[in-house]
Symmetry: C2
Subunit: 181 residues, 2 copies
């Protein structure tokens, strides 16, 4: 059964640096009218760079809302109107210095679809060529080179708890195993 | 290197139904002071119920911020002060009617750690016993019984694009393969 909801009206309650918050009224399939709170987010990209020896290049940075350093796949927000693939190539270069011969699209990733419009596009970067990093201002990070197999273990143990990073690692592991068959 | 940031001050810019938004000033490790926008979310649980034949019980519901029906693992928000395991048992029962003999903790999942405090706790529910569903008011969903192997394929193909669901399925697949070795 299809439970599609129809937007009737809405207004912005907050306009911020990264997100906006909208409160809509929506009509349910049964005619009921409900409030729907929506966090608008520009979305972004996540890139897992894997070299020919099976090593990944990860970034470790302080995540203020979580209050801790976190090990993640390189990632960034989409700029207005930017194509995800171009954004992924830009972020990969900014954070790790790499360019990739091949960017394999690993699918969309909705971070919190009950409340947020945020969608990330995940790429596996292969055929890496080193270059210079050029992180954004006030973006401070450590680059860590680690085997994909070790990262998969860290996802399973819970040591890696960032959602997009967990998906990127587990998808890349399955994809590369299938490729090598 | 440790890039810990220290909260100096902050104020609420929005208080809503599910989320609040705070704007803080924080001091970086190098003394620079920056603004940090934080979406406060109560967090929640995700439960993947898998029966003895390898079938999962999924929920399909309309996700207003995404504007589409989505196939997801059963999930819900934590109530104030609620233990994640109790919340997982409650949501499993509400959405699918099942109780589980064994709840295996599959780790934390940060949905969007650069902007949101949201953390989900993922459980694998085994030893399922059927009962009656009792969904929340204005929560409408279809229950779908599907093999875990098919769901893993749908994650890889991108047909399943909900982050928590992708993590729950890929982690459960690896965990159950290791158990059966």
């Amino acid at each position: 059964m299809d439970f599609t909801e129809k937007r009737l009206e809405g207004e912005y309650k907050y306009k911020g640096l990264i997100v906006n918050v909208r409160m809509d009224k929506a009509e349910l399939f049964n005619g009921h009218v409900v409030k729907r709170e929506v966090v608008e987010h520009p979305g972004g990209v996540t890139i897992l760079p894997v070299d020919s020896e099976g090593n990944c290049y990860m970034v470790e940075q302080f995540r203020y809302p979580m209050g801790k350093m976190m090990l993640e796949a390189p990632a960034g927000k989409l700029e207005l109107g930017e194509e995800p693939l171009l954004s992924a190539e830009r972020e990969l270069s900014e954070e790790t210095g790499f360019t990739a011969e091949k960017m394999v699209y690993m699918g969309r990733y909705c971070t919190s679809p009950g409340i947020s419009t945020e969608v990330l596009h995940i790429y596996l970067a292969l055929g890496l060529k080193a270059g210079k990093t050029h992180p954004d201002e006030d973006e401070y990070l450590n680059i860590k080179k680690m085997p994909l197999s070790q990262l998969a273990d860290m996802v399973m143990s819970g040591e890696i708890d960032d959602g997009k990073t967990a998906v990127a690692i587990l998808k890349a592991e399955k994809y590369l195993k299938n490729q090598s068959k």
